[in-house]
């Protein structure tokens, strides 16, 4: 039996993390920008609403996968931008590998069915 990189029970968490890390790979973004980008790239398949994005981002920040920094935007507005960390990049690679294995197993299971 092949080693599982992530637990099936954590699929939602892992999926959210992977989407966010993938989006942050090339540039830093703020929360709303991240939600828009994911929605646009996935053709509205993945959609964050009701502030569900914030607990995920803050948890990932606590785990050291991303780093939030405050930036002045205009004379009065401050905004929190998130950037991926080295730990986040490693985590992304691992999770992506896990997802690929999961999708392959899933597809082959249904092929047999």
């Amino acid at each position: 039996m092949p080693d599982k990189i992530f637990e099936i029970q954590n699929l939602t968490k892992s999926c959210n993390e992977l989407l966010l890390l993938q989006t942050l790979l090339n540039e830093k973004m703020h929360g709303y920008q991240l939600a828009l980008e994911i929605e646009e790239k996935s053709k509205a398949y993945f959609h964050f609403n009701h502030g569900t994005l914030y607990p995920i981002l803050h948890k990932m920040e606590k785990e050291g996968l991303i780093k939030g920094t405050w930036q002045q935007e205009g004379p009065k507005r401050k905004r929190k931008y998130y950037a991926i960390t080295t730990k986040g990049k490693i985590h992304f690679e691992t999770q992506l590998k896990g997802w690929k294995e999961f999708i392959n197993s899933f597809q082959s299971f249904f092929k047999e069915v």
Binding site: G31, Y32, H50, G51, H58
Partner: protein
């Protein structure tokens, strides 16, 4: 900050039960995103009322999301406290304070030489008694602001003036006793002028600890009061920033 979104900011402020500055940072982050969404909706021709409704329906964090955020940012004590009911928590708090008080009393008892203590003016016992509420208030405020991190505005000033009051009271008790001892000694010297030197030595022996203790208490109490006042002012400033978005 966009004035039209003020009711949403205030709702966030009410719902996020976290100490400052975490609360302020979270509100600021969510508010800046809501504003970006608002700008986008307005520029695409949506009416202001509809834009606010859309933001509330789509972007404003649900109670569950806010609860998750709160538990992520709660300190160790708050997480621990959540496991206890309100009644048990109050017993838990009392136990910690009682333990600390016992520890302080024991240390003071060991530190003071008992023979010196009994040769001092009896007013020292009154000073010691007044020290108990002083310690209780300092511990209570320190515990509330730094450990429990209960930063609700209505509780901030609670007990703060009492620290200053008891410090001054301890000092004034010592000062009054000092003058009473002087008067008593002068009467004694008037009765036995040949024993003036012995009586004067006895006076210093009886009153010096009173003054030293009074000054020490006023220094400790004053420092504690000042530090706690600074902390409460800082919290108030954060609350002000959150409410008025300076």
């Amino acid at each position: 900050m966009i004035k039209a979104l003020s009711p949403l900011y205030l709702e966030l402020n009410d719902k996020i039960k976290l100490p400052q500055p975490e609360k302020f940072r979270i509100i600021l982050e969510i508010a800046s995103d809501m504003e970006a969404y608002y700008d986008q909706l307005i520029s695409s021709g949506v009416a202001q009322e509809n834009a606010i409704t859309t933001i509330r329906d789509e972007w404003f964090p649900s109670d569950q999301a806010l609860q998750e955020l709160i538990s992520l940012h709660q300190g160790f004590y708050s997480r621990l406290a959540q496991r206890f009911s309100k009644y048990k928590l109050s017993i838990f708090e009392k136990s910690i304070i009682s333990f600390l008080l016992c520890f302080i009393c024991f240390t003071v008892y060991k530190l003071f030489n008992m023979s010196t203590l009994f040769s001092t003016s009896p007013a020292i016992w009154l000073q010691f008694t007044l020290t108990i509420p002083l310690i209780v208030f300092i511990l209570f405020k320190g515990f509330q602001l730094y450990l429990k991190r209960d930063h609700q505005l209505k509780n901030l000033s609670q007990g703060l003036v009492s620290i200053l009051f008891f410090s001054i009271l301890i000092f004034l008790t010592g000062l009054s006793a000092y003058y009473l001892e002087w008067q008593y000694t002068l009467f004694k010297i008037a009765e036995h002028p040949n024993l003036w030197f012995e009586n004067l030595i006895l006076l210093f022996k009886k009153t010096t600890p009173l003054m030293i203790y009074g000054i020490t208490c006023i220094l400790i109490g004053g420092t504690a009061w000042f530090s706690l006042l600074q902390k409460t002012n800082k919290i108030r400033q954060y609350e002000f920033d959150v409410l008025f978005f300076q």
